[in-house]
Every structure is written in C-alpha cells, then in structure tokens.
C-alpha cells in the first residue's frame, strides 16, 4: 500500500519570499508523483508531475519539485511567491501499473503582504 505525508498542514509566508512544501511517501512499488493545487471553491489543478528522467521537474506558475528516491520525497518549491498562490496544495502518488491516486493531507499556503 502507499501513503503520502505532507509534513506541514499550514505554511504562512510573506509575498516575494521563497517557499518549500514538503511531501514524503512510502510505497513498496515504483510510483509516479504529482502536485495539485486547489484554489478556494475550485477543483484540483495539476501543477506538475514526475514520471521518470530528470529528478527536477518544472510546472506551471513558477513551481518546481525535486524527486529524491533515497529520501522518498517530492518537495515543492517556488523562489518567490505571490498573493495569488494562496491555495491548498496536495501531493499525490500513483503506483506504476495502477490508476488510483493516493493523496496527502494537503498544505494550506497563505501569502501575507
């Protein structure tokens, strides 16, 4: 079975500051990794994904994430956040060969002016 742990339930940062949202996972099989964002009162939007190859993946809105196999982590980063980045961020894994997504508990990112 797979599980995903997002280590911070809430992350407050000031506008234009860097941010890192942490995600660790456990799985007995290889997985694909995803970050989704949920803006207030909206559905989920895919930010980025790691399938294979380069461990540093870039996504939309200036976000990037790094896959670390030895630490089973997939942390999300942005060098300079904007007020519009205020949202809930979900890390998810999908076992290779399966379609089911397993989500972390989410991290609420709040940007203060």
């Amino acid at each position: 079975a797979q599980s995903v742990t997002q280590l911070d339930s809430q992350v407050p940062v000031f506008e234009e500051a860097p941010v890192e949202l942490r995600c660790n996972y456990s799985s007995s099989v290889s997985v694909y990794l995803f970050w989704y964002v949920q803006y207030p009162n909206q559905g989920l939007q895919l930010l980025l994904k790691y399938l294979s190859g380069s461990t540093l993946v870039k996504g939309i809105n200036g976000f990037e994430a790094e896959f670390n196999k030895s630490q089973t982590s997939f942390h999300l980063r942005k060098p300079s956040v904007h007020i519009s980045d205020t949202a809930e961020y979900f890390c998810a894994v999908r076992p290779q060969g399966a379609q089911k997504l397993v989500f972390g508990q989410g991290t609420r990112l709040t940007i203060n002016p």
Binding site: Y32, F34, Y36, N41, Q42, G43, L44, Q45, L46, K49, L51, F90, R94, Q99, K100, L101, F103, G104, Q105, G106
Partner: protein
C-alpha cells in the same frame, strides 16, 4: 487534457433524502473516478466508474450508499443516498483521458451540505 463539468455545483439537502451528481466530460475518456473531500480534509477515492458494468468501490464505501452509473465514455453519475450530516462534503469527478496520459483531471466539484 479534458474539460469536466459537474452538476449541481452546490446543494443543500435534508437528511434522509438523496442527491444525484452528474459528471460530463468533453471527450471520451478511459477511466472516471469519484472522490470525496470532507471539510478541511484531503481527497478520498469512493469508486472507479466502469463503463457498462458495476463500479469498483474502495474500502468503506458501498453501492447502496453511493450508487454510480456510467452509461458511456463521457458521462457518469454519483448518487448520495439516505443522506446524513456526515455526508456533507465536496464530491469530485476525475478522469484519465487514455492509457498514455498519466495524470488525472478533476472537475470543479459539487459542494453538498446536509441539514
């Protein structure tokens, strides 16, 4: 990608009643899923909607409570039956367009409040 719409976007229902949520996709898709997001929590998979056959339910979810239909490759419904306040959640439809695409796309969700 796939564009997904859900109806209704929100509803307030009385306990003991049922609500059917519709999910419409703008193209034929391989797989469709239904998720529940309880207030302040993450997403939990309810079931996989299978075209032309019974849905595949996850542990803790049963067909009598959450009957699902998928009559074709672009449409599915989820019914929340005999509702209680504990069913108050956001219900999201999700699709995988085809076997080559690895990500799931999500609809805007249906926000259900049971009083």
């Amino acid at each position: 990608s796939a564009v997904i719409s859900q109806k209704p976007s929100r509803d307030i229902c009385q306990r003991g009643t049922s609500l059917t949520i519709q999910c419409q996709v703008d193209s034929q898709v391989t797989m469709m899923f239904w998720y529940r997001q309880q207030p302040g929590q993450s997403l939990t998979l309810i079931a996989t909607a299978n075209q032309g056959s019974e849905a595949t339910y996850e542990s803790g979810f049963v067909i009598d409570k959450f009957p699902i239909s998928r009559p074709n490759l672009t449409f599915s419904t989820l019914t929340v039956s005999n509702m209680s306040p504990e069913d108050s959640s956001i219900y999201l439809c999700s699709v995988v367009p085809n076997e080559v695409v690895y990500e799931q796309y999500f609809g805007p969700g249906t926000r259900l409040t049971v009083t």
